[in-house]
Symmetry: D2
Subunit: 297 residues, 4 copies
């Protein structure tokens, strides 16, 4: 019953010519289609009406609640996580932030009325770095629980994977089931992927502040899209450092205090290679911004 067709009937037409044809494509030529694409949309999947795509064209509006902790990993581990083109920031070796955010997204008009599409939770790490002498933040790892968010992230250079992220919530009512948003209030946040707990934090609020400590530097990412053609696996089609352009960045209800943070090891993950040696401030607050642009470095 078993048939080993080995490219024969089906694949004969192209089997022998794969490399030759791929090699004949001039580098970058695919970036300028000669004929306009009749399918519509921004990301996968392009489609006749242009509504099926995971992410439509910007602008993209975000609002969220963040819980996080400042930390220092080993300077060697932090340096090893930087892509070519970024250097360690000697001002504060090994310094970074672990941030959990519950987001709500709006791409066009009132997407927040479609909560399964517009809501998602995120965990990311940011590490101090320098780009041509400018202090920047580099995101080595990030997880979300929504494929539309993953698609928008990949376009920005955020290397998103799927995970399960939850943080303690505050409510507009005094209850034994919620912490106070005030001195002594405690919030936790956790992230799991592949059925394994990978990160967990607890933050105790102490005092208000102007803004979240974690977003004081421009974010630099690495946009990357590999090639699959034989011989091209090490020659990505897109590989470029980017700097995020966060328009209309706002903060509210920001508190800082103390925190605890753990990264837990797992196969197929390198987050725990950045394990905290010590922690700085913990924080919690709301933030909002709009994305409509990306600077290519």
């Amino acid at each position: 019953m078993e048939k080993n067709l080995q490219r024969r009937a089906v694949l004969a037409a192209m089997a022998g010519t794969t490399v030759g044809i791929a090699a004949s494509t001039p580098a970058g030529a695919n970036a300028t289609p000669a004929t306009p694409e009749r399918l519509k949309g921004y990301t996968y999947p392009l489609s006749p009406r242009g509504v099926a795509n995971l992410a439509g064209k910007p602008q993209w509006h975000y609002v969220g609640d963040a819980v996080g902790v400042e930390f220092w990993t080993s300077p060697e581990a932090a340096a090893a996580s930087l892509p070519t083109g970024l250097d360690p920031d000697p001002a504060n070796p090994g310094h970074g932030y672990a941030v959990f955010i519950d987001w709500q997204f709006n791409g066009a008009t009132d997407d927040y009325l479609d909560p399964p599409f517009s809501q998602y939770s995120e965990f990311l790490v940011l590490l101090d770095a320098q780009w041509q002498g400018t202090p920047v933040a580099w995101c080595p790892f990030i997880w979300v629980d929504n494929d539309a968010s993953l698609a928008r992230g990949w376009v920005q250079g955020f290397p998103k994977k799927m995970g399960s992220i939850r943080q303690t919530r505050a409510f507009a009512i005094d209850s034994p089931a919620a912490p106070t948003v005030g001195k002594g209030g405690r919030f936790a946040a956790v992230m799991s992927a592949g059925g394994r707990r990978l990160a967990e934090t607890t933050v105790t609020l102490d005092r208000t502040t102007d803004r979240l400590p974690a977003l004081t530097r421009p974010l630099v990412n690495l946009r990357h899209f590999p090639r699959l053609s034989a011989g091209q696996h090490d020659n990505p089609a897109v590989h470029e450092l980017t700097m995020s352009v966060l328009a209309n960045l706002k903060f509210a209800n920001t508190w800082i205090g103390t925190g605890e943070l753990r990264f837990l090891p797992a196969p197929r993950e390198e987050l725990a290679d950045l394990t905290p040696r010590r922690v700085g401030v913990g924080f919690r607050g709301s933030l909002s911004y709009t994305v409509n642009d990306l600077r290519i470095l």
Copy 2:
């Protein structure tokens, strides 16, 4: 408490120069990094040890159980779903297949011993088309339930979204809880995304055959990765037709018979625009292949 920073403190360095710098990047130059990347891996996220990436470099081995139905949608709907560069196949207007597959993947050695990573379920539609006169199959829509599969798919040009896909299973034991793999045996398969049922099928087996009807033509996909820089939203970084190279394609236990198929409408989806006008054979069987290459058309 709310602060509207509007690019000021944080983003001043790059705000004014975004467009100019982006425009000064020669098209395609990013495809050939001057300095080799020190981070390792194939897809997001690149990392120091190269084990965190969603998908490592090929080769990629697959084995799966498929349930599906041949169908005809309106020739106009089928033609509208084709990207620039593909034409309708006049031999069989509106003809295609809806296929549900329970996959197990192995990228290197024994990944099948990590079932949450290696197993996933998939639903895809294939439509007859022509590329420069060659009969091909075009995949307008596809869903999976595993982010590593999504990453491998995007690299191949499969426009994967996340969904929930389940099919009736056969077991090596005679039981009232499972269908017979034989004449009269009935198998169902369903796909939901965003909490909405989008596709459902039932197949009744009648007779064995050599191979799955759905994979008789080369698969043509559209590799696509957009740009986010202002003014470039309509100018993707990658936009190229591809032809899949499925090595060592094998089939086993293939049965065909009759089938039923429904596509259900939903916001943010266009699958139901391809709603079946009539159905042909239903089928069920196992298949296996290896991916190590991709032909760029």
Copy 3:
């Protein structure tokens, strides 16, 4: 290779005596164990240390954000959904509420610092009824996304099933990605189960009010736990009407306005049998209470 053991080797000891032994158990005797149970805990699973149980003993503290709509279904459908012992309330035939709640739970000390355990979302229907002439609310259907919540619910008589429930969130920051908690603010909520959308609502806020309209009557549930012994499938071990005791009930930030509501049909569900004929007020607000008791009617 296949062995049909048909109770033989394994089950011989008890096969012939099943009914006899079951019948010899005096009704209700099982409710008073002669010897104290050495395993600890409140719900399944009882265990040596008593920490593995899904739900520990009360008290149980809850705080949540609710979005909902008042509606009228057909009086016949509403009456048909009442258990024996409850009567339709002639004051307002067919009247009820559909409510979506994002909950945070605290059973003992600071469970809210374990968000995957303590957080869950819920959708429930409440219908006007009378118990011995007293106006009450009956909950025919309810879904949650957390098994600990399901366990607590079953003990209270809430007939919880697992589903996926999401509602639009408000944030402490003015953003295009969130509605205003104020006049004109719009919130949506949706529920899916088994991969099918079952309920959806949109609410537009107009004015503040003292309390959520949906919780103005005592909740009556039906505690029910069936028997599996042959001949006893229609003779449940527990089958009793209950009245919830919600201690320290508080409301905050309650707004009412207009709403839309749809129930969508699905196999294995009867929610759409209660389809709204017309809707009344929409509402959104926060609530909090403690459960430590249950009245058996």
Copy 4:
């Protein structure tokens, strides 16, 4: 805006009388409703048409693929996990099995054509015990990924919680992506709950056998349903040892060999208290049975 109603307006009718009324209910009287219940169904939720319940009345047919390992934990830990009424089996102290099963269920006619309802995965532990001198198997812990399975389990006394369970699959085709069902074939299985890995096993097949080692003794469970009325939290409504009646038990394709097994600690879990000191045979095979009865001990 915040209102502390503290049982007043809403709850006045019953607040003072809760204990008295509960106490006046004769024990066991609730098991025999004076008037037949007009709602239909077997488990929650009872409903007008009787199709909404998670689990309909038996008979219940099951077929599945199992992967598992024999192990010995400390005799003290095994003994501590037994409920009152069961004793350790002195023949083999600390002996038990860890079993992962991918199930397909059929309650009535062709439920296997509804895969999201009928399919689920399970992990359970079985420990040797004695009931009045009879060798039995006791299930201290069990997880499933389907609420209908949870409901059927609770009725049988299986203390099911929700988890995520996956096992390596075999396919009817020779592929690098699947193990051989034969000597040297390796299968893994894993279980996570609450985002934490709790159990993992790998089995290497060596030789065929007649039946799965894990199901050679009658299964004894503890049916348990607590009371919530104040003062009754330690007096469950149902608390009775049961013996499963597995009709028409069949095995197929059963292989045994070697295995590895780990239980991983987590808050809110006691599985790792049963951590394996050594392992015996590993096994893999298919099984099928029907449930229509339960013996109350």
